[in-house]
C-alpha cells in the first residue's frame, strides 16, 4: 500500500513517464520509447544549455521534447546548419546529420529559451523549433 502510494506520487508529480513520437530528436531519442521527465530538475537552478527538456502545449499530456541551445538574453541564429550563439558557432556533438538550415537571428527575452531537436537532417519546414517561454518547460528529460 505504501509502495503503491509512493509510486503514484512519484510517477504523477515527480517523474512523469512519456513515450516519444516522431524523428526530430534522432539519434538521441528514437520513436516509441519510454522516458521520464523530472519535474523537480529545475527547483534550484534554471534550465541549462544542452539539457533535453519537455515543453508543454495546452497541458502536460502532449509535449515537445527538445534540446536547449539558447539561454535568456542571448542572440541565436542558424547559418548553414550551424547554430550561432551571440555570433559564435555552438559545438553540438549530439548532431549527426545536418542540412544547411538558415534561420535569421533572434534575441531571446528574459524568460525565453531557444529549443531545437537533434535531428537537423530533416528539412527545416518539417522540424518544430524556436523560442519557448520558461513556464512551458515541464522538466528535464532523463533516462
Amino acid at each position: 500500500m505504501v509502495l503503491a502510494t509512493i509510486s503514484f506520487i512519484v510517477f504523477r508529480w515527480v517523474l512523469i513517464p512519456i513515450r516519444t513520437e516522431g524523428s526530430s530528436m534522432l539519434p538521441t531519442y528514437t520513436p516509441d520509447k519510454l522516458h521520464f521527465v523530472n519535474r523537480l530538475a529545475y527547483g534550484t537552478r534554471g534550465p541549462q544549455r544542452g539539457d533535453v527538456v519537455a515543453i508543454q502545449m495546452a497541458g502536460p499530456h502532449v509535449l515537445y521534447v527538445k534540446r536547449i541551445v539558447g539561454l535568456p538574453g542571448e542572440r541565436v541564429a542558424i547559418a548553414g546548419g550551424q547554430v550561432q550563439i551571440n555570433g559564435t558557432g555552438l559545438s553540438e556533438p549530439y548532431v549527426r546529420h545536418r542540412k544547411p538550415w538558415d534561420v535569421p537571428e533572434v534575441t531571446l527575452g528574459p524568460r525565453e529559451y531557444f529549443v531545437i531537436g537533434d535531428n537537423r537532417g530533416m528539412s527545416v519546414g518539417e522540424h518544430d523549433f524556436g523560442r519557448a517561454q520558461v513556464d512551458r518547460i515541464l522538466g528535464k528529460v532523463v533516462f
Binding site: 513520437e21 502545449m57 495546452a58 497541458g59 502536460p60 502532449v62 527538445k66 529549443v115 519557448a132
Partner: protein
C-alpha cells in the same frame, strides 16, 4: 441572534459557492462533450453510407455561421461555415487517413454562460496505408465557443505558436 445570522450567511455563501462550482463544471462538461462529438464525427469512417457532402454538412453544424479560423504560419484565414463545409467536402479523401484527438482541454465559461474560451491540444494521428505505422502531429489551439440554442458551436479558432 447575531451568531444565527452569521451562520445563515455562512451557509448561504457556501451553498452559492457549491452551486457556482457545480454549474460551471456542468457547463464545461457540455463544451467538452461537444468537442468529443466533433472528434467522433471527424474520425467516423465512411461505412455509415453518408456521402462526403452530407458528412461535410454535419461537420459544419459544429461551427457558427460566421466562424473565423486563424491557423497562423502564413496560412490564409478561413471565414464562414460554408467555407468549412466546402473544404471538408473536398479534403475528405485525405482527412479519412487521419484520426483527431483533443487533449488537455480546459474550458473557461463567460459569466453569462453563453460563451466559452477553450484551450486544447489537437493531435492528428495518421496511419500509413502501406506500412500501417502511425505518425503524430500535435498543435495547440484557442477556441471561442458560443451557445446557440442548446448546442455549443465553435465561433473562433486560433492556432497558438507553442514555439515562436
Amino acid at each position: 441572534m447575531r451568531r444565527i445570522a452569521l451562520s445563515v450567511v455562512a451557509v448561504v455563501t457556501v451553498a452559492a459557492g457549491v452551486w457556482f462550482i457545480y454549474a460551471s463544471s456542468d457547463a464545461g462538461r457540455g463544451v467538452r462533450a461537444r468537442l468529443e462529438s466533433l472528434s467522433d464525427m471527424v474520425n467516423r469512417t465512411t461505412v455509415d453510407g453518408l456521402g462526403p457532402e452530407a458528412r461535410a454538412v454535419q461537420l459544419g453544424a459544429f461551427f457558427t455561421e460566421d466562424v473565423d479560423v486563424e491557423l497562423g504560419q502564413g496560412a490564409a484565414a478561413i471565414r464562414g461555415r460554408d467555407t468549412i463545409i466546402g473544404m471538408a467536402e473536398r479534403l475528405q479523401p485525405r482527412t479519412a487517413a487521419f484520426r483527431l484527438k483533443f487533449e488537455d482541454v480546459s474550458v473557461v465559461l463567460a459569466p453569462d454562460g453563453n460563451t466559452a474560451d477553450v484551450h486544447l491540444t489537437a493531435e492528428f494521428i495518421r496511419r500509413s496505408i502501406t506500412t500501417g505505422e502511425e505518425s503524430l502531429d500535435a498543435r495547440e489551439f484557442m477556441l471561442g465557443m458560443r451557445r446557440v440554442a442548446a448546442d455549443w458551436q465553435i465561433a473562433k479558432v486560433t492556432a497558438v505558436e507553442t514555439l515562436k
